[in-house]
Amino acid sequence: MIELKGVAKTFQRGDHVVRAVTSVDLTIEGGEFVTVLGPSGCGKTTLLHMLGGFETPTKGTVTIDGQVVTGPGRDRGMVFQDATLFPWRTVSANVAWPLEVNGVPKRAARLQSAALLEKVGLEKFGNAFPGELSGGMRQRAALARTLAMEPSVLLMDEPFGALDAQTREIMQEELMRLWQESDLTVIFITHDISEAIFLGDRVIVMGVSPGRVIEDFKVELDRPRTAEARNDPRILEYRSHLWGLLAHAPSSPSGNGSQIT
């Protein structure tokens, strides 16, 4: 279980303070798929970075199963918007890297990496270099590499944001399948309303000025979810509700958090 209690984060920019996130209270159960939706500047990425331990909250605490988060850890695997693969390593060697770092012998690491590549549908591309792959395939490889860390939580920062619409839908369905076969907790950042609804058990809607949670929205679509779920009539209803929330939330002129002098 992940708990955020009164979490706030402020940044010093020059001589003024930017309030990226103010007072967030949130509880996420193990195995949940939570999407965080919000316009740019609402602090959703900052929130994810605090969960990952890459940034420390200015106020409040982030705890995972009762343990306070003090830094990054292999229990929380990060998936970035850019795949962040090493261009000098083959896809299979990229996936094997977290294992090698952990002291797994090379041969065993390659075997595990092959199994992971099969899981994400890249079994034929182990010997390719990242530069030879399409954007979607690169994200699959990045996902396999993150899974190699055997995390209990996946932290995904708009991982499909740079993909074309069709690839994006395929990736969403693949992620759905992978998650349903596992007991992973997923926290998925997006600014795409449909994506947030299709993937999430809950949609945490965030607003700007200052960055905060404006609604914790429950998605009642059936599980397991497949491509079929996209035709569920409730989706339209959800969409207009979330759209209304985002459209009527006050937005800061800079789009970059609120400022106090």
Binding site: G52, F54, G71, P72, G73, R74, R76, G77, M78, F80, D82, T84, F86, P87, W88, W97, P98, V101, N102, F129, G131, M149
Partner: protein, 254 residues
């Protein structure tokens, strides 16, 4: 620099012919024995090459030169990485590099000779001293070029500093290190040659100085041509290795 591989072969040969032709005309017209004609230079080259003198001196030059370059490369790469990664090292090295870079390191050569003698050790040390700076600057820039997300990834998988250096920083810095080598190789040749003018009668620089002292400018020019050829060869070797080792950055060759 890559003009060598660009443009039509005809124009390249033409450029060389124009320069050689001008020289030849100038030599014939001046009728000065100190300005030798091309065939005299070629004959002197064959003479020097035949009795093995040229090869022996070239070997001495290259051994000292590359020894100095290697030392500079290892030390500069380590210093560059340390300075790029640790603000303590950065703060300590910054004034030293800023002060040291513009100083003509050759000004130190008399002291280097006093300490290390007139042999190859002095030349090696001098080359290392002079090559350190461009190599350091490139290594520093290379280590600074690591993308923030790659660093986060390393923190996420809990990679230690050695892992980070070997698997992330070194490959990122590799293209920069090759650029550093391309800058340092001509410096190495310059410093080797100049330091050989003074010393224990070894190396191509010595051969030039000795020939000039006997008014044998044809031999001196022959040796200069050899230096040029060695420099070109070393540079091509670096470019070739860069394309082999930095295969993921295709079409960005310097």
């Amino acid at each position: 620099m890559d003009n060598i591989s660009r443009g039509s072969l005809f124009l390249k040969v033409l450029g060389i012919c124009v320069v050689l032709g001008s020289w030849q005309t100038f030599a014939i017209l001046s009728n000065n024995p100190l300005i030798p004609e091309l065939q005299t230079i070629c004959l002197k080259f064959l003479e020097l090459a035949r009795d093995g003198e040229l090869a022996a001196h070239a070997k001495s030059s290259l051994l000292n030169g590359f020894a100095g370059l290697s030392i500079a490369f290892v030390v500069a790469t380590m210093c560059g990485f340390l300075a790029a990664r640790s603000w303590v090292f950065d703060s300590m090295l910054h004034p030293l590099v800023s002060l040291g870079y513009p100083v003509p390191k050759l000004a130190l050569y008399p002291m280097v000779i006093l300490i290390l003698g007139l042999g190859g050790e002095s030349r090696t040390a001098q080359v290392a001293l002079e090559c350190f700076f461009p190599l350091f600057v490139q290594s520093y820039a290379g280590a600074k070029a690591v993308r923030p997300h790659m660093e986060w990834l390393a923190r996420n998988v809990d990679a230690g500093s050695w892992r980070l250096a070997k698997d992330v920083i070194l490959p990122t810095a590799l293209p920069f290190l090759f650029t550093g080598l391309r800058i340092a190789i001509p410096i190495m040749l310059i410093v080797t040659t100049v330091t050989e003018f003074i010393g224990d009668s070894h190396g191509l620089g010595f051969l030039i100085a000795r020939s000039s002292a006997y008014f044998d400018t044809a031999s001196a020019f022959a040796v200069v041509a050899v230096l040029g050829a060695l420099g070109l060869l070393a540079d091509r070797l670096v470019v070739y290795s860069r394309d082999r080792f930095v295969f993921w950055e295709k079409g960005t060759s310097l």
